[in-house]
């Protein structure tokens, strides 16, 4: 920051001490909004809610959603949050903000005034503008519809619990949750609708869908000749029917919702609800570094502006710097505190570095980022925020300086080698390789196994064939059997999982295990 701090007099300042009042909050929110406007942060309206720490734990455990259906796994989440909080292992939510329009942000009443200001800058303007601006959020989520949809989902699930029993619904949700990472469309864009509309359509869907399924699974023989089983006896090619589905389907939950033979209409609807929510969270899972980095970058800049304009005093500023430093701390891999790469630290470092490259480029920067060096920094950070996700953001913007500062190194771990190897470090030879590897590390497509629906045997035993496209010889974890078990519950007929490597089926898993 190229600003100099002048000596100041405490009595000139509003922001003193740690107690806050609603007037304070409104005052600072106005000031922050003004500054954010100067930085061209375009946001949804903010709905800022003051809550207690207990309510924060509630909010935490319902994946941050203001309403949600009931499920034991949220209870488990709650218990572990509560445990960690009570033992003092974890400070509660630095902030909690929901991608909705208006954008809901939670402030804890226990926070000091500094914290409230910080959270407003971070969440209500940082995250909020990210939600509104980033292309993934724009394409995949509809901020104005989500709260409505959650209300619909909650009501629907509890109605099902009344009609069909808590246990039946719970089992179904367990099964759906196991598949929720495979419940997203990566390429199609969902349309958003309101809760009422959703409820009305849901009625229609029930009737229509069931009809479709019935047609698909119709037991009336179609052109079927029982005496043509073998390949050579099949002169008419009757057993050479096209595979169904004709293209592999990546969205398992969608496929199940539309095609599972035995599910009742209400079960299909619940599959749909889980799928919709998974889809809603999909952009967040892909933009962790960017999202946190963006919000941290802006709270840092906004706090400095507030300080320079003498709206907060030195005490508040010091308190802020202490807290900010803790947030962006990155312990080394060998530290007992190491818990992976801190997305706040990496994101903040990258956005800060983009600004530096624009305003004070070095020779190295000119070589690496010829177009960025010397450009308008505000344009550039906005461009980065709008058009990238973690994977591509790192690929495009991770600079040698950040790699040096973070002291990144890449470790190659190959199970066919009994030693591990340092494949690259933060030096001239390694920059590109580290950047490549780190980008891959944040790619969901690489991180999660690629499992798609290959075929549903609609004319025969109704089994469902999945294919796991194996990369880098990485096999599936032991969780495979329980997940196949859940899949079997949903599909109702045998499940086959074929492991494909380089176009060849190398391994096959069955559920039930004695099948096949």
């Amino acid at each position: 920051m190229s600003t100099s701090y002048k000596p100041i007099h405490d009595e000139d300042f509003l922001g003193q001490g740690s107690d806050w009042s609603f007037d304070d909050l409104e005052h600072y929110e106005r000031e922050i909004a003004r500054i954010a406007g100067e930085f061209r942060l375009d946001t949804y309206p903010n709905q800022i809610e003051i809550i207690t720490s207990e309510q924060m734990m509630d909010a935490y455990s319902s994946i941050g959603m203001p309403v949600g259906y009931s499920h034991w796994s949220f209870g488990k989440q709650f218990l572990s949050v509560e445990q960690a909080y009570k033992r003092g292992q974890m400070g509660l939510a630095y902030e909690l903000v929901i991608n909705s329009d208006p954008c809901i942000a939670y402030l804890m009443e226990e926070n000091t005034l500094m914290m409230q200001i910080l959270v407003m800058a971070h969440a209500c303007h940082g995250h909020n503008s990210f939600f509104k601006g980033n292309y993934l959020f724009r394409a995949w989520t509809d901020a104005s519809a989500i709260v409505d949809y959650l209300v619909f989902a909650r009501r629907y699930v509890s109605e099902c619990e009344e009609r069909h029993g808590v246990e039946a619904v719970e089992q179904l949700l367990d099964a759906c949750h196991a598949l929720q990472n495979q419940g997203v469309d990566r390429y199609k864009r969902p349309s958003a609708i309101s809760a009422e509309e959703e409820a009305r359509r849901q009625q229609e869907r029930e009737g229509y869908l069931q009809q479709q399924i019935n047609t698909l699974w119709s037991t009336i023989p179609q052109l079927r000749t029982a005496d043509a089983p073998g390949a050579d006896g099949d002169a008419q090619g009757l057993n050479q029917r096209p595979r169904y589905p004709s293209e592999p389907q990546e969205n398992l939950l969608y496929f199940i919702e539309k095609n599972a033979p035995l599910l009742a209409p209400w079960q299909r609807e619940i599959v749909r609800i889980v799928r919709k929510l998974a889809q809603y969270f999909y952009p967040q899972r892909q933009t962790q570094v960017m999202n946190e980095g963006w919000a941290t970058f802006w709270h840092y800049n906004i706090m400095h502006r507030l300080f320079n304009e003498k709206l907060i005093d030195e005490g508040v500023m010091l308190e802020f710097l202490q807290s900010h430093t803790a947030v962006v701390a990155q312990p080394g891999f060998d530290s007992p505190w190491y818990n992976g790469i801190n997305p706040y630290a990496l994101g903040f470092a990258m956005f800060t570095d983009i600004r530096r490259i624009c305003t004070e480029p070095t020779e190295e920067d000119r070589a690496w980022f010829p177009e960025m060096a010397g450009s308008d920094w505000l344009d550039t950070v906005h461009f980065a925020m709008h058009n990238f996700k973690d994977e591509s953001f790192i690929q495009q913007f991770l600079s040698p300086k950040v790699m040096r500062d973070m002291k990144f190194f890449a470790l190659l771990d190959d199970d066919q080698d009994d030693m591990v190897e340092i494949s690259a470090i933060h030096d001239e030879r390694g920059y590109r390789r580290i950047r490549e590897a780190l980008s891959l590390q944040y790619s969901l497509g690489h991180r999660e196994p690629d499992i798609q629906v290959w075929a549903a045997n609609i004319h025969g035993d109704r089994s469902l064939v999945l294919r796991h496209e194996r990369t880098q010889r990485r096999t599936l974890d032991d969780t495979l059997s329980p997940v196949m078990h859940y899949l079997h519950q949903l599909w109702g007929f045998p499940i086959v999982l074929e492991v494909v490597d380089n176009g060849e089926v190398v391994d096959t898993h069955h559920w039930p295990q004695n099948f096949g």
Binding site: F22, L25, E29, P45, Q47, I48, E49, I50, I51, T52, Q55, D58, S61, S70, H71, F74, G75, K76, F78, E82, Q83, V166, E170, H177, A178, Q180, P331, G332, F333, S335, G340, I341, M406, K407, A410, L411, D413, D415, D418, M419, E421, I422, S423, I425, A437, L438, L440, Q441, R447, E448, P449, I451, R474, T475, L476, D477, T479, P482, V483, Y486
Partner: protein
């Protein structure tokens, strides 16, 4: 644009449902953990909640994911001495290797670690006493008004301002206003009509006196309309409360313990745990539980808790002395019509030779008819003596209300306790 909402007064415990679902789903695990902890720990700690651990794998939520193995590159921060091409042994446990990249993918925190959480005190106790039932819980009716509770009883016209029922008062006021204004309005309407009629007439035909009269009348009526008060003391309604006598729901628990020389501190500790369990159990079902401690060697005395458990005595044992004292105390202070009476006795089984028969007589004839339940635990690894024999005969006579068990070591207490208080139905099944 921003706005603030203060949600602090909203419901807490939004996750209570989810929490209960979780506890229900893992009932078996939690119960096992609770039982272990009861046996392991001192029961004085039971006033608190309990930390419970469940193996992480039992409650994990499986998803498709990569396992170990294969070829992978992991980028980590904080390099100090590595240079490109360095080779080293695979770090043990793989914490820094495979864990860093993959682990950060989910915040589910899976793994084989224990999943630990804290049960609240109430949840803890309800797990401890799950499936247990208090024998012969009775609500005793009492005639005197010592226990009464204010109960809503409609509305009244008198009361203190704090109990004013605003809605009803306003409704009364509105009704009164309508009723009082209606005739005035009607008259006003008539007068206005008459005035209009008069004014419509040809100016020559108008009667100036009549006009003035009507105008005065209208003015007077309007004043009267305004004078109808918005609210009147007559309208006020108050929530009425009456005192209703309550059936009493209280119990007294007598702890009777042998403190003769043969009872070691270890024996007493075991007995203490038993008493505490019983106390917690009673406390759950009764609004009020009083404790009376009677200790005895050759003579019995009522003492406070501290002296009961920790003061040392020596000498022989005459159990009947305690039973006599018990009888006297009941007679003097706890009329069975008002109190649920429970007795828990702990002893090592020693008694003065001739005394056991006397004990049986007091119990059978004087005490048992008045008591809710009598639980006797004998803390001894040795063979039973005369007292056990005589008590067996009491049990034969009162199989429903008299129970006795033997405890050898501290770990037996909880199972014995469960056996003594398991719910009646399962108890009967066990008998038949």
């Amino acid at each position: 644009m921003s706005y603030f909402i203060d949600r602090r007064s909203n419901a807490r415990h939004k996750s209570a449902v989810n929490r209960q679902r979780f506890l229900k789903r893992y009932q078996k695990h939690i119960k096992r953990a609770v039982e272990e902890s009861v046996n392991r720990r001192s029961i004085t700690d039971m006033e608190r909640g309990e930390k419970v651990s469940i193996p992480g794998r039992d409650i994990s939520e499986p998803v498709f994911r990569h396992g170990k193995g294969g070829r992978r590159t992991v980028v980590s921060p904080g390099n100090r001495e590595f240079a490109e091409g360095d080779r080293m042994r695979r770090p043990h446990g793989g914490g820094g290797g495979g864990g860093s990249g993959e682990g950060s993918a989910s915040n589910q925190g899976e793994g084989v670690d224990e999943f630990a959480f804290t049960l609240s005190r109430d949840e803890f106790l309800s797990f401890i006493f799950d499936g247990l039932e208090l024998p012969h819980l009775e609500r005793k009716q009492i005639a005197d008004m010592a226990e009464s509770r204010p109960v809503r009883a409609g509305l009244s016209r008198q009361g203190v301002p704090a109990r004013m029922n605003i809605v009803r008062s306003m409704r009364e006021a509105q009704a009164r206003r309508i009723a009082m204004r209606a005739p005035i309005r009607r008259a006003l309407c008539d007068a206005q009509k008459a005035l209009e009629e008069e004014e419509r007439k040809d100016p020559v035909l108008r009667h100036p006196g009549r006009l003035r009269e009507l105008r005065d009348e209208i003015e007077r009526l309007e004043r009267r309309l305004e004078a109808v008060p918005f609210i009147d003391t007559y309208d006020l309604r108050y929530n009425h409360l009456t005192d209703q006598p309550q059936p009493s729901n209280k119990a007294v628990m007598f702890c009777v313990m042998d403190v003769s020389g043969s009872m070691t501190q270890n024996h007493k500790d075991i007995a203490k745990r038993f008493f505490l369990l019983l106390y917690l159990f009673l406390e759950r079902d009764y609004e009020r539980v009083e404790l009376v401690f009677i200790r005895h060697h050759t003579s019995a005395r009522e003492v406070d808790e501290e002296a009961f458990f920790y003061s040392r005595e020596t000498g022989g044992t005459i159990v009947s002395s305690a039973l006599h004292l018990l009888d006297e105390i009941i007679e003097a202070r706890y009329p069975p019509a008002q109190w649920n009476l429970y007795v828990a006795q702990a002893s090592d089984g020693d008694n003065w030779d001739d005394d056991s028969i006397q004990c049986r007589q007091i119990l059978s004839d004087a005490l048992m008819p008045r008591l809710q339940y009598y639980a006797y635990v004998e803390i001894t690894p040795h063979a039973h003596q005369a007292l056990w024999e005589e008590y067996t005969r009491v049990q034969d006579r009162y199989p429903e209300r008299f129970a006795m068990r033997q405890i050898v070591q501290a770990g037996d207490i909880y199972p014995v306790f469960r056996e003594l208080f398991k719910s009646r139905q399962s108890g009967q099944e066990a008998h038949s």
